[in-house]
């Protein structure tokens, strides 16, 4: 009888066969790719930044990463996903493209907020209303696309966390992140990925050189200026506390990027595989290029591990806008050129007084901001029209033609799209932090900054067990253990020479 009941329940449960739209291979890759990208945030960035900060800031850094990740998911499913990928908000039912670019711009600027919480919102065939006519129909459920896009939305604020580490207040971070996701990220995403204005103009951003990295570099720089610098001592001696921890984080970030760029066609296609290998080639070229510059022009003319990590990140960021639009030769060049430009900026532009004024703790404006902007522009140069993202859409192949292949205007389009992201994200970051600052200071007190994790969280990264006693609930805390009586038994003087 029990057997029969189980069988009946099994029969009543929906099976995959009733999702006629779904392709299991595509869906399996999409969920895998999304998980790879999620791992780049937690634990990837958590331990990468955790290793780069001083010992006293590890817990704070890791906690802000995990908490930020969680915060973005909540706003993402409640309203933000649809603002980035839903139907345009500022359009009436009978909207027609206007000849006025300003009107067009704002009609294709941001999506209408909405949740993804219903069964349809999770299991129905995915759709991005303004994009769908331009690509083959999704073989994925909404849940896969919502989650895949969430991990991108989540990593963006976690990247610019690197700019404001070691002084931004935890509370402020938790307020800032959901507001920034809702007001800045959704606009970036809609303009380039949701089928908005810049997508319609032909701007390309395969996986977020602009939506994510240029956005993170810009917002981090502005936020660092708003929050103010770290305390003098922390800034002057910003020594990383664990290079092996940096290695773990950096490795997860590199290989996680296979999902970052490989998942963006939304199909487990030849272009997905192309994006994966191109990503690794550009990264290899950029890493080696950075090490070479360190050896020939660096302060000590020696190869450095943290230099290699910078080069690696720059390569990953550089190829992100173009991973599935350039060929292999293009990928190698994009990595090598972008790495050279960012190395020069890191070494020479950082000496300019206005760059010194802003304490961008991890240098996100270089390794993500400048690297992302240059990556987007290099897409305009190297995009190969025979590298095809979608083979057949209404009889046409979808690809991008760069300047090298006879379409120099692509560079201009890329540049203008980049400028839009810079302006909007700088403005929104400034406005949010300005408003928050009316209610609460943006930074910890100097006393808290002096002590670090212990002052803010009552936890430290590497607690010791010597001289530690458990405080049991209901018992008052004991005073310091007195020195053993026998040692001083003969003395009538006060004992104890500690500080």
């Amino acid at each position: 009888m029990q057997h029969l009941l189980l069988n009946l329940q099994a029969a009543a449960a929906p099976s995959f066969s009733d999702k006629a739209y779904l392709n299991t291979g595509d869906n399996a890759w999409q969920m895998t790719a999304a998980t790879f990208v999620a791992l780049m945030s937690v634990p990837g960035l958590a331990v990468l930044f955790g290793g780069l900060v001083q010992k006293k800031w590890v817990v704070n850094t890791i906690l802000m990463t995990f908490a930020g990740f969680a915060t973005v998911l909540i706003v993402w499913v409640l309203w933000a996903y649809h603002m980035g990928f839903g139907s345009p908000l500022f359009r009436g039912a009978n909207w027609k493209a206007s000849s006025d670019p300003i009107t067009n711009f704002f009609a294709n600027f941001i999506g209408r907020p909405g949740t993804t919480l219903s069964s349809q919102g999770e299991e129905a065939q995915a759709s991005i209303p303004l994009v769908n006519p331009g690509m083959p129909p999704f073989a994925l459920p909404n849940a896969s696309v919502v989650y895949f896009q969430f991990v991108f939305a989540a990593i963006t604020p976690l990247l610019f966390l690197g700019s404001v580490l070691s002084r931004i207040k935890f509370k402020v971070w938790l307020i800032f992140v959901p507001l920034w996701t809702s007001l800045a990220y959704t606009v970036n995403a809609f303009l380039l990925w949701g089928g908005g204005y810049w997508a319609q103009q032909g701007a390309g951003d395969f996986s977020g050189g602009y939506v994510i990295h240029l956005a993170a570099g810009t917002s981090g720089f502005v936020a660092a200026a708003m929050v103010g610098p770290r305390i003098k001592k922390d800034r002057e001696r910003a020594l990383p506390h664990s290079l092996p921890l940096v290695a773990i984080g950096a490795g997860i970030v590199w290989l996680g990027w296979n999902g970052f760029n490989g998942g963006d066609p939304y199909f487990a296609s030849a272009d997905a595989a192309t994006a994966v290998i191109n990503t690794n080639m550009a990264t290899a070229a950029a890493l080696l290029m950075w090490v070479a510059w360190d050896m020939f022009l660096g302060p000590a003319k020696k190869p450095t591990f943290l230099g290699a990590v910078n080069g690696m990140v720059v390569g990953l960021v550089a190829i992100t806008p173009s991973a599935g639009y350039v060929n292999g030769a293009g990928a190698l060049l994009v990595g090598a050129i972008d790495s050279t430009i960012v190395w020069m900026a890191w070494t020479y532009l950082s000496r300019a007084s206005f760059m010194k004024k802003v304490d961008d703790a991890m240098g996100i404006v270089y390794t993500h901001g400048i690297a992302g902007l240059m990556g987007g522009i290099l897409l305009g140069v190297f995009a190969d029209p025979t590298v095809v993202e979608y083979q057949s859409v209404n009889g046409a192949k979808i690809s991008i033609t760069g300047a090298l292949y006879g379409h120099p205007k692509q560079v201009l389009i890329q540049f203008l799209a980049g400028v839009t992201v810079i302006l909007w994200d700088a403005l929104v970051t400034f406005a949010i932090l300005k408003v928050i600052s009316f209610f609460t200071p943006l930074r910890m007190t100097d006393e808290e900054c002096e002590v670090g994790d212990l002052a803010v969280h009552d936890e430290e990264a590497y607690p010791e067990t010597e001289g530690v006693s458990r405080v049991l609930p209901g018992y008052s805390t004991s005073p310091p253990v007195p020195a053993p009586a026998s040692v001083h038994a003969s003395s009538s003087l006060p004992v104890g020479g500690g500080a």
Partner: protein
Amino acid sequence: MVLVTAVVKPHALDAVREALSYLGVAGMTITEVKGFGRQRGHTEVYRGAEYRVEYLPKLKVEVLSTAEMADEVVETIAKAARTGKIGDGKIWVTAVDAVTRIRTGETGPSAI
């Protein structure tokens, strides 16, 4: 000759070092130490469980000095390390019988 030993808050080290250099002190030895005095330890919380950490990290600064300079060295350290809060530390002076500079073999005050 004397050995001036000071136990100070870790972040006071820069100020102490600077002040001593200004005074003309040519060398010092630093050791990371832990201890307690009137300043109690602090509390840490892991997975909801509260722990009392009895010993706090301090730095021990040791400076060799001539007997004539000792008071000035002590005063300088005290001034540089003082925040006025509990836990600023202590300084004590002990007599030193002999000092040798290893490189040159000099002994006595000229080896300091």
